[in-house]
């Protein structure tokens, strides 16, 4: 049965902006965020399907297990159709197009300053039009094989996946997004179609457009291009993941001249964080580890970190944690210092001034991010897949309370459940 398209305007007085959330009759959720005075527009369509979705069933059908790296492989191959590849079509409109696969989603995007409607049509067309043959699938092995090798040589990438291997027993988040040269050799056109038909269903996707566009303009193309789809029940199977990490320390030798580290805290991941919890987490991490913090000062004064030091919340289906990382000549000491500092803040609470400053800084970042059409559309897609709204996040930052932030601290950062991963030059 065909539903009616429903449009809702979402406003923010704080941001002075508004966007539109549309439940389209085809089953797709669409967000449109017009930016007055902008020349460019950015569109992104994403499927809630990433590298971790390797075991699944659709409508209670047969449970299917597919090779590691297939979501990313599919992303490469979807650009091709019987008539040629989408890049060649975009060449006629001047749009700059790309795509990416992460742990939990696959996204296709373009940005342009002219001829939006034509580029938009190309995007909606090729994403709904898979074309996989034995020959085209085989051709991609060489290209992706080199992409995998490029990442094999990236110490930043290695240090993160080594950390994930140290944190997760069973969860597929510990496996490289692109898979391995061996696993991608098992990918066939048929398996790609299995994945495509399960996950590239408009009910399991989102479209976000921002910049020099109107709702009417977006809907005009959508009404014509989107093929209404039946909603399927998708079930993803993940093995039970214990709360505890696998091991506290992982090390790899690598040709690097400055050692690098990732220090990950594994947390309980029973449900996605909502807007308030996300806001509290960002404020928490800023108060704890931004350049303003006493921790940063201590690490810097003792030469344990340099300007590359960073932190992030790391969250998706069935995994959640916080990573601190960067270059360090003494990663073990850096990790010990971080642990000690977190324990002391847990005991004594967050300093009032630290909390207020962090709140202002996170608020400023949130408002600033609304300058960029690509940021806006990407954030809306991310929020959507977790059931969140962009402006609700900004409001949650402005109204965050210290006590809530301290509760996040207790839940997120367990100093007895963390893994330090180090990549450094072989000794001797």
């Amino acid at each position: 049965m065909m539903n009616e398209t429903a449009i809702k305007e979402i406003k923010s007085d704080r941001a002075g902006d508004s966007y539109f959330k549309i439940a389209h009759s085809s089953g797709l959720t669409i967000y449109v965020y017009p930016k007055e005075g902008y020349r460019s527009a950015y569109a992104i369509i994403g499927a809630k399907y990433g590298s971790v979705n390797t075991c699944f069933s659709s409508d209670n059908g047969e449970k299917i297990t597919v090779p590691d790296g297939i979501a990313h492989y599919l992303e490469h191959k979807l650009f091709e159709s019987e008539e040629g590849d989408a890049f060649a079509r975009y060449a006629k409109t001047g749009a700059s197009a790309n795509a990416y696969t992460s742990f939990e989603k696959t996204c296709y995007l373009f940005s342009c300053t002219d001829r939006f409607d034509e580029s938009f049509e190309i995007l909606l067309d090729f994403v709904q039009d898979p074309y996989f043959t034995a020959q085209t699938v085989l051709k991609e092995q060489g290209i992706i094989g080199q992409e995998i090798k490029m990442y094999d040589d990236s110490p930043d990438w290695r240090v993160m996946f080594n950390m994930l291997q140290g944190m997760y027993h069973n969860h597929p988040v510990k496996i490289d997004i692109a898979g391995t040269v061996e696993s991608i050799a098992e990918i066939t056109a048929e398996k790609l179609y299995d994945c495509y038909n399960t996950f590239y269903n408009l009910h399991n996707m989102v479209l976000c457009v921002s910049g020099n566009v109107t709702v009417e303009q977006v809907l005009k193309t959508c009404d014509r291009m989107l093929k209404p789809s039946e909603k399927h029940e998708i079930h993803n199977y993940f093995e039970e993941e214990p709360y505890e990490i696998v091991k506290p320390y992982v090390e790899q030798s690598f040709p690097v001249s400055v050692p690098i580290f990732d220090f990950g805290f594994k947390a309980c991941a029973d449900k996605p964080l909502d807007e308030a919890e996300l806001a509290q987490t960002e404020i928490l991490l800023s108060a704890l580890a931004s350049p303003t913090s006493a921790l940063y000062r201590e690490l810097m004064d003792n030469n344990l970190i340099n300007n590359t030091f960073s932190y992030e919340l790391f969250e998706g289906p069935g995994y959640c944690g916080v990573i601190f990382g960067g270059e360090s000549r003494a990663p073990k000491q850096a990790a010990e210092t971080i642990k000690r500092y977190i324990s002391s803040v847990k005991q004594n609470g967050i300093d009032d001034e630290d909390f207020e400053i962090a709140k202002k800084a996170v608020y400023g970042d949130a408002i600033s991010s609304l300058n960029s059409v690509s940021n806006i559309a990407n954030m809306m897609a991310d929020y959507h897949f977790n059931g969140n709204e962009l402006f609700a996040y900004i409001d949650a930052v402005a109204s965050a309370e210290k006590a809530d932030v301290e509760r996040r601290l207790a839940r997120l950062l367990d100093v007895d459940n963390c893994t330090l991963s180090v990549v450094k030059q072989a000794e001797g």
Partner: protein, 421 residues
């Protein structure tokens, strides 16, 4: 594009402003331009970092960070670039536009004063910088140098440039050498600072909605008491290569990196540079380029293979990651595409699509504060600023004959290979 207005504040000191009300943030950058030289580059780089860490009003890193964070996460950053044979040190502040301050503060004014203070009123002890601050910055820079080796793509391109331009100033790194960084002392850095204030060209750029006059006045006053004798460098352009230099380095890596350096035979201010820009983009600058379509898509040899033209220095660099056994095939594949261009094997579609892609790329930069800033900053050492429309016109007017002529001017200078053992 938003209009830029440039005024002279003092000898070699210019203030440019771009008024734009579309953004939620503003930015002011002080771009300090000096001739790139082995003698001074490292000290200048250390200075730029030290100035961004503290100042008289906020005498340590934590105090300064707290001030910035309380201004709604404002940022103060330092950046060092090489534009041709000039070193460009940039200190910039950015933050929320006044409209969004929860308490009605004027963020823009505070940030202008802060940036000026950072440059003119640093944290000094007599006629010397604070030694702990200097040491901290030396450590940061030495780590930056070392960490370039961590990323093998950056490392390989760096090694190619070093070899190709070994006898030119441009062969230097933007922050000089580790040895020279270690030689810096709190006292020598004071001299470096004094010298910069006197001899560097300052291009101050303001992008935002609030009135820029206040910021211009703050800087104008600060410079009024400085005795100025500005200098800049003319970039040495080598028009064609001699015998091809080949450099091979072996390493324990999964993927080999091939980097090829060409003399492009032209550089700015020569207007032929625009034809070279387009030629390079057709060759390997987009996802429809010859290298992408043939070397990657048809031959499946690599994941990336792209070309970049440095319009200030007049060189073109092609870099790619490849299986060790396919290196020769890749090099031959790249040379074949270049030969094709020299022989005029370029379709009208390739030309029009690449023009469209470049213009699209130019126009997109007008929609962010940092895009506008880097649009103008990339032209800092030129003889004036071209707007997006003006540069688009230059590109649109390039003919096929000019593209072929640009390709014919290419000569291969250096091939660098990072080979997996």
């Amino acid at each position: 594009m938003s209009q830029i207005k440039r005024t002279r504040l003092s000898d070699g000191v210019y203030f440019s402003d771009v008024r734009d009300s579309r953004f939620k943030t503003m930015k002011i950058s002080a771009n300090i331009i000096v001739p790139l030289s082995e003698k001074t580059a490292s000290a200048n780089a250390v200075l730029c970092g030290v100035l961004s860490r503290s100042c008289k009003a906020y005498p340590d890193f934590t105090a300064l960070s707290k001030k910035l964070s309380s201004l709604y996460g404002a940022e103060l950053s330092a950046n060092i670039r090489k534009i041709g044979d000039n070193q460009v040190l940039s200190l910039s502040v950015s933050g929320l536009d006044d409209r969004y301050a929860l308490g009605g503060e004027s963020i823009a004014r505070e940030l202008s004063v802060l940036l000026c203070g950072v440059i003119f009123k640093p944290n000094l002890q007599g006629e010397a910088f604070v030694s702990s601050e200097v040491e901290q910055e030396q450590r940061q820079l030495l780590d930056v140098i070392d960490s370039e080796f961590n990323d093998k793509r950056i490392y390989a391109v760096g090694q190619m440039v070093r070899n190709m331009c070994a006898d030119e100033v441009f062969g230097m790194k933007r922050y000089g050498t580790a040895e020279k960084i270690k030689e810096v002392t709190p006292v020598s850095l004071y001299e470096t600072w004094q010298n910069l204030l006197k001899t560097a060209v300052f291009e101050i750029m303001y992008i935002g909605d609030s009135s820029p006059e206040k910021a211009a006045n703050v800087f104008g006053e600060a410079f009024s008491s400085v005795d100025r004798a500005p200098e800049t460098a003319q970039t040495q352009v080598v028009l064609s290569a001699g015998e091809v230099k080949r450099v091979v380095e072996e390493m324990d890596v999964a993927q080999s990196k091939l980097v090829m350096g060409f003399r492009a035979g032209t550089a700015l201010p020569d207007s032929d540079a625009y034809a070279s820009m387009l030629m390079c983009a057709i060759l390997g600058g987009t996802a429809n380029s010859k290298l992408f379509c043939n070397v990657r898509e048809k031959q499946s040899l690599c994941y990336y293979c792209s070309s970049q033209y440095d319009r200030n220095k007049g060189i073109m660099i092609i870099d790619s990651g490849v299986e060790g056994k396919n290196v020769e095939k890749l090099e031959a594949g790249i040379m074949k595409e270049i030969e094709d261009m020299k022989n005029g094997v370029i379709s009208d579609f390739e030309i029009s699509a690449t023009k469209l892609a470049l213009v699209n790329y130019f126009q997109s930069s007008n929609d962010t504060v940092s895009g506008i800033e880097s649009w103008y900053c990339s032209q800092l050492t030129g003889s004036g600023y071209l707007s997006i429309e003006e540069m688009s016109k230059m590109i649109q007017s390039v003919t096929k004959e000019q593209i072929v002529a640009a390709a014919e001017k290419l000569t291969l200078d250096t091939v660098y290979l990072l080979k997996n053992k």
